[in-house]
């Protein structure tokens, strides 16, 4: 609903990796005794179980026959893999995955490119009202998304684009405040001489952006892409507002429909709902685990450059 928490995550991840890359490792810092460290490890492992167990429960329950879904046992017995086949027949899951993938990639790609273009404008050029305009960009970050929900719907409605997937990513063609901020910071850290040299070689502004700024900013571009992909993949509000036709649904909207049909107040086939939840959850977990390395590598590289 708001741009801010995502922004927070972005800052956080970036800052953490940065400080991790910069700071020397601090094993057992401030002279903790081995006993304290073991205690710490045990405590954190216990806490981790609290965070991971719901995932384990979800996967386990999704593999149980209907009457066992609520037995809270760690291992499903008997294992019923057919739940995943059943959910495939009960709902157009493949269609929804394809929709989510398309919308997610369109949203991430368009916001990355457009934000980079705008960020380059703010980072490279000197022009009247630059700081005032940049302040305005930052100001829009503080605006609660709810305020513009209704009129934004009316904009898409007047363009006859409701009940299409365009409103789910179309706004991203115009850049997004936080990513503009992030990428501008990154562009500012690039050495100015690179651009001056390119100019001497007869490169115009478009060339500087496309051939110098973009290739050197891969880490920041990847972070932008991944975070927007996550935001798009997990969003329910926009699909709920704009999509009526189930064949256009993205995964979260589809999962909500599955819950309403098979879950509470429906047919009480919870194993189907749970299998669909697993399908909706796993891709982003995989993306995150793969992307984490990118964050670390990326920020470490720039750390060395600066």
């Amino acid at each position: 609903m708001t741009a801010l928490p995502d922004a927070g995550q972005l800052v956080a991840l970036e800052r953490t990796e940065e400080s991790l890359a910069a700071a020397p490792p601090r094993p057992g810092r401030r002279g903790s005794s081995p006993l304290v460290r073991v205690g710490l490890g045990v405590l954190l492992t216990g806490l981790s179980v609290l965070f991971v167990y719901p995932f384990v429960w979800l996967v386990s329950a999704s593999l149980k026959p209907r009457e066992n879904v609520f037995d809270n046992s760690l291992l499903p017995h008997p294992v019923q893999v057919e739940n995943f086949a059943t959910v495939w027949q009960a709902a157009p899951l493949l269609r929804w995955i394809a929709n989510s993938a398309f919308v997610g990639v369109a949203a991430a790609l368009s916001v990355t490119l457009s934000s980079a273009i705008v960020a380059f404008g703010f980072a490279y050029f000197r022009f009247p009202a630059r700081n005032a305009l940049f302040g305005l960009v930052l100001g829009t970050m503080m605006l609660p998304a709810v305020v513009t929900l209704v009129p934004t719907y009316l904009v898409w409605h007047s363009l006859h684009l409701t009940n299409t997937q365009v409103p789910l990513w179309g706004q991203n063609l115009f850049g997004s405040a936080f990513y503009i901020f992030l990428l501008r910071q990154f562009f500012l850290s690039l050495p100015r001489e690179l651009f001056d040299a390119a100019r001497v070689d007869g490169c115009n502004y478009l060339g500087m952006f496309w051939r110098i700024a973009l290739p050197l900013s891969k880490p920041a571009l990847i972070i932008t892409f991944i975070f927007e992909l996550r935001a798009s993949w997990t969003d329910l509000v926009k699909p709920l507002v704009y999509l009526q036709n189930p064949s256009l649904y993205t995964l979260p909207r589809g999962l909500k429909a599955v819950l309403d049909q098979f879950g509470q107040g429906g047919e009480l086939k919870w194993e189907i709902v749970l299998a669909a939840s697993v399908v909706a959850t796993v891709p982003m977990i995989v993306v995150f685990l793969l992307a984490q390395r990118h964050f670390v590598e990326g920020i470490a590289t720039t750390g060395r450059k600066g």
Partner: protein
């Protein structure tokens, strides 16, 4: 670059070059300018205008003056949903911040590799779609068969009916929300890593104990991060929608049962706008929430000014 170039280029050519550069700059800025006008400034003005009208999308809006705002004031659902939302925010924000700080302090005592592992673990729920989180906790919080009450049972505690008892629905939602506090943990950990080690050593030389060091060294040093998360978490909590909507709304049968205790403000706004097509009324609801968020944020900024420590004040 400009300084050197300016020295050798004649003023007239310089001015032409400046104009050219300005044109190019605005060309790069064009996407954002268009987007700002069409999707931010335009909608905000439209929203304000609409809030003084009755509009159902099908027929054109009719001006009703302050009627919408009068209705907002007397609508019991507005008071109830605002109350629910503020109640949730008042529970969620301090709990999430305290627990996150606790976890971050623990992680900060570990080496880089192992803290990275645990940080990933705490962050995984953030990557989970909120709809899936809603589904999951609908079952985990179930009063009869849920895992949470089963765990409480191990300690001899008879857990409440989290998902059906109106008194316990919001505390249940707070439990759900605390599962996804990973991003706050990550922010605090980043801040803690940046506290200079020398400060702790100096404080130790002064004969302070661990609690004094936390109170007088750590806390001022990370107060900027604490302030940031306070603002961000408050604004997000006041707009809580997806998990609650997933669990208690959108399905006629479940909606009738628990909707009063789970009616959050943005859910009510969503219903008014997109189920009943009361676009004018929904716009006035949006502006009320905007004002509420603005007032709370300004108060937080004012109060924080007295507590937040900035490096620059010292140098």
């Amino acid at each position: 670059m400009t300084a050197e170039t300016a020295a050798v280029v004649r003023p007239a050519r310089l001015a032409a070059w400046r104009r050219r550069e300005t044109r190019w700059a605005y060309l790069f800025l064009l996407p954002w300018i268009v987007g700002f006008l069409v999707f931010t400034l335009g909608p905000m003005i439209a929203s304000l205008v609409l809030s003084f009208t009755s509009y159902d999308v099908l027929s054109s809006p009719s001006f009703v003056g302050l009627d919408n705002y009068r209705e907002v004031m007397s609508d019991p659902a507005v008071a109830r949903s605002l109350g629910n939302t503020v109640f949730y925010t008042a529970l969620h924000v301090p709990l999430a911040m305290t627990l996150s700080m606790g976890l971050a302090l623990l992680l900060n005592r570990l080496g880089r590799r192992s803290s990275g592992f645990f940080r990933t673990v705490f962050y995984l729920p953030v990557m989970t779609p909120p709809v899936a989180v809603g589904v999951l906790f609908l079952l985990l919080l179930n009063g009869q068969t849920g895992l949470i009450n089963a765990a409480l049972g191990l300690f001899g505690v008879q857990g409440p009916n989290w998902t059906t008892d109106p008194a316990w629905i919001k505390p249940g939602i707070v439990i759900l929300s605390l599962w996804s506090l990973g991003s706050t943990v990550v922010i605090y950990l980043a801040a803690l890593r940046n506290v200079p080690e020398e400060l702790y050593e100096a404080a130790k030389v002064d004969g302070t104990n661990a609690r004094q060091r936390f109170r007088h060294v750590t806390l001022p040093q990370v107060s900027g991060a604490v302030f940031f998360t306070l603002i961000v978490n408050t604004i997000a909590s006041l707009q809580m929608f997806t998990e609650v909507y997933t669990m208690y709304f959108g399905n006629k049968q479940t909606q009738s049962g628990s909707s009063d205790a789970a009616l959050f403000y943005v859910i009510y706004l969503f219903q008014q706008a997109f189920q009943f097509l009361h676009m004018g009324y929904a716009s006035s609801l949006a502006w009320l929430l905007f004002v509420v968020i603005l007032v709370i944020t300004v108060v937080q900024v004012r109060v924080a000014k007295r507590f937040v420590y900035y490096e620059s004040e010292n140098s």
